[in-house]
Amino acid sequence: MSTLPAPPERLVTGPYREITIPAVVLGVLLGALMTAAFVYIALKLGFSMPGSTVAAILGFGLLRGVLKNGTIVENNINQTIASGVNNASAGISFTLPALFILSVDNPALANFDPVPFILAAMAGTFMGVVIIIPLRKQMIEFERLRFPSGIAVAAILKSPGAGPRQAKLLMWGFLIATAFTVMIQGEVGLIPEELSLNHLIPSIPEYFPIALSISFASIGAGLLSGMGGLPFVLGGILAWWVIAPIAVGAGWAADPGLGEVMAQDGWQAGSMYLTMLRPLGIGILVGGALAGVVASFPALKAAFKSLSVAARSGAIGGNSNDEMSSRVLYIGLAASAVALFVAAMLASDDVSVGQGIAMAVTGVVWLALAGLIVAQATGMTDISPLSGMALIAVTLIFFISSENITAAILVGVAVCMGIGQCGDMMTDLKSGHLIGAIPKRQQLAQFALSWIGAPIAIGAVFLLWSSGPDGMNGFGTIESGLTAPQGQALASVIKSLSVGDVALEKYVGGAAIGAGLSVFPLGGIGVLVGLAMYLPLGVTLTYGLGCLVSIWLSRRKDNAWMGATLVPIAAGFIVGEALTNLGASLFRLAAG
């Protein structure tokens, strides 16, 4: 039987498809589904998932495959909307559950109204998107930050035209990462999550970790970062291989004096991390980011100028018309601050007007700075210090509101949503830059639709809480099956704050170090060093391995080879691990 020859491909005419109804509908649907599912995953496992990769791949199949006429930039819009909506899963599940958990011991906190929280979450979302407007030029066009996940998503989006060799490399990277990630999963357990010399040689104390986490996403991020990621690795080495042993040797670290009874070095390592290195790391992050703003003021000024030109130019032909106007930034910030004020006033009868104003202003200012930190950290390493930044917000508001827990968590929700949005939006804008999307359209899509995630995520948290016995305790306990680790962590921090336990000296000292580091002519070095102190060394070293391989290759191969070979492999690593972990989480949930 003969087969008919395939019809010749035709040129596409008419307007180039970018923001279209199918892209918007698909983005919202995928985002909503991911938000509900990932809230559950976050309460069960303690981490949420970024939605860009999943949305890009599904969009690829549905827009280009099923509908046949989807374009690459149209899929970018779908993926931008979906990940923007899904951002709520992390923003809400890292913060709001703490209020439910605290209400068990403090019934006065129970029965709070969800409406102010939805309002605060939506205000945070809008703020996160508008704050990114001037930062796009600064971080993507001037600083040229890598945003490894953004590059990975762009590699997927561009794959139809990248040629079979790059597609094969992407697939190889994907398969290698998938294979290793499957072997790490608890049910398979063929290889450990971390290769640790401390486990093999017990005489090496845990406060001197020699470990590599088996994460191809971290290796991929390191491969894409290259030389620029090295300060991050040095920061981690400094924290764990220099400061920690010195602190123990000099008697600075806590020592309960039970060495003869039991191995206490694990406790000592944990205590050092929580009470010494982590708060100092947060301080360095903040100081580094603040000083970075001052150092890059001329470039930021130019970015604002370009936005003002966009505001004035209207429909003129220049490329400045691709930018969102600075008016949106100012109006958006003002409107979000008002919404946050209203939410704070509605959340608790104990909040005075003056406190409400102070909370709204502090929330907006901190969100702007923390958003900058998160975007910069994501751009350089693909790692986002979301929980640390939310923690500072909760601490600030806790004291401004005279220790009002509900108000503190409310602003924490807004800040966590906003800064998550900053990291996500910037990553999507990087993908957009690499495929030639119009930034204004991406920002408009995210601005108009990301708020949808807030009521879905908050609704999911309320629903899960009320699914417990007597309509409460649906999470936060081992019996419930949903331990809500991030919520527990924030609840324990709030308990510490209630007795006045604030590591102010670490934040101040760290900020001075971060500010000092900004004098060094390497953008974002303070953020990198601070972030390294904030993370376990195993993650940092794996990332560093990727950086070293990338540096070694860049000395032997030209830029063309790096772009055509290394980028698809690294992108495959990142996508493979992300999707396999998602699949494994869904499998576990389905298996009960």
Binding site: P8, E9, R10, L11, V12, Y16, T71, V73, K137, I140, E141, F142, R144, K158, P160, G161, L234, L238, V242, I243, A247, W252, A254, P256, G257, L258, V261, Q264, W267, S271, T275, M276, P298, A299, K301, A302, A303, G318, N319, S320, H433, L434, I435, G436, V499, G500, D501, V502, L504, E505, G509, A512, I513, G516, L517, V519, F520, V529, N559, A560
Partner: protein, 264 residues
């Protein structure tokens, strides 16, 4: 000089971070008390759980009971010590002043070393940048001159746009050579231009750099868009994007001329 600068920064960060992370004695003593209770309590709980397990032998159970008995006085002592701790934590202001009086000097020395190293590195970079400018003593033979490369790239893109506009028999196959040429421009012209970032900052400062890299990045984005539109078989969009890319490069040339004039 750069190596000395990096060493200064690393030593400075080490000293400042080590003394910066130090807790005051009062805080450390509280942690010791709480930690002692946590560890002992945890050990007793673990032993009790082991004893309650069905597979535990009678001999082991006896040993566990002896271990728990041995730990009991220490646990009681730890509980008593914990009970003596006031519920309120050490005040933040006390922590700050206490920390600074004990660690302020070495910490400040560390921060000053970081700043000194940073300034030294800036100076080293400036000297290296000046020398690396085309015609400078340290310039590489294949060093790219931003201005020269910019003009040739703009001309190449404008020509490509012209050729694409002149095509009468448009087809999907006809897009392929244009796609290859766009790839070549991105790789051989745009990327080397982007890599002159430090040269441009050295010449025109941060504000001048931003003035130039704004339209240049726009041009880069439109070249990417042209490539993507070619993959999507959209001739009109690809051609229009090439025009916008050429426009962006021409805008960059105009900005460069303005900056040169201002400098003279």
């Amino acid at each position: 000089m750069k190596a000395i600068a990096i060493i200064c920064v690393m030593v400075g960060v080490g000293v400042a971070a080590a003394f910066g992370s130090r807790n005051i004695n009062e805080v450390r003593d509280r942690q010791n008390t709480v930690g002692r209770l946590q560890l002992l309590g945890g050990a007793v709980e673990a032993l009790e759980a082991e004893a309650a397990e069905t597979g535990t032998t009678a001999e082991r159970k006896t040993a566990i009971a002896a271990e728990i008995t041995a730990l009991a006085p220490k646990l009681a002592e730890a509980q008593a010590a914990k009970a003596k701790i006031p519920p309120e934590a050490v005040e933040a202001s006390t922590r700050l002043s206490g920390w600074f009086s004990a660690n302020g000097l070495p910490f400040s020395a560390g921060v000053l070393l970081i700043i000194f190293g940073g300034l030294l590195a800036r100076r080293a970079d400036k000297t290296a940048m000046q020398a690396a400018l085309p015609g400078g003593v340290g310039a590489k033979k294949d060093a790219v001159d931003f201005g020269v490369k910019l003009v040739t790239t703009a001309a190449t893109v404008r020509t490509l746009y012209g050729v694409m506009s002149d095509v009468k028999a448009r087809s999907v196959a006809g897009l392929e050579p244009f796609k290859s040429q766009v790839e070549a421009i991105i790789q051989n012209d745009i990327e080397p231009l982007i890599e002159t970032k430090h040269q441009v900052i050295g010449r025109f400062g941060m504000a001048g750099f931003a003035q130039l890299f704004g339209p240049l990045s726009g041009a880069e984005r439109y070249l990417n868009r042209a490539w993507v539109a070619m993959v999507d078989r959209h001739w009109d969009e690809a051609q229009n994007s090439l025009d916008r890319a050429a426009q962006g490069l021409e805008d960059t040339i105009a900005e460069l001329e303005t900056l040169k004039l201002a400098k003279t």
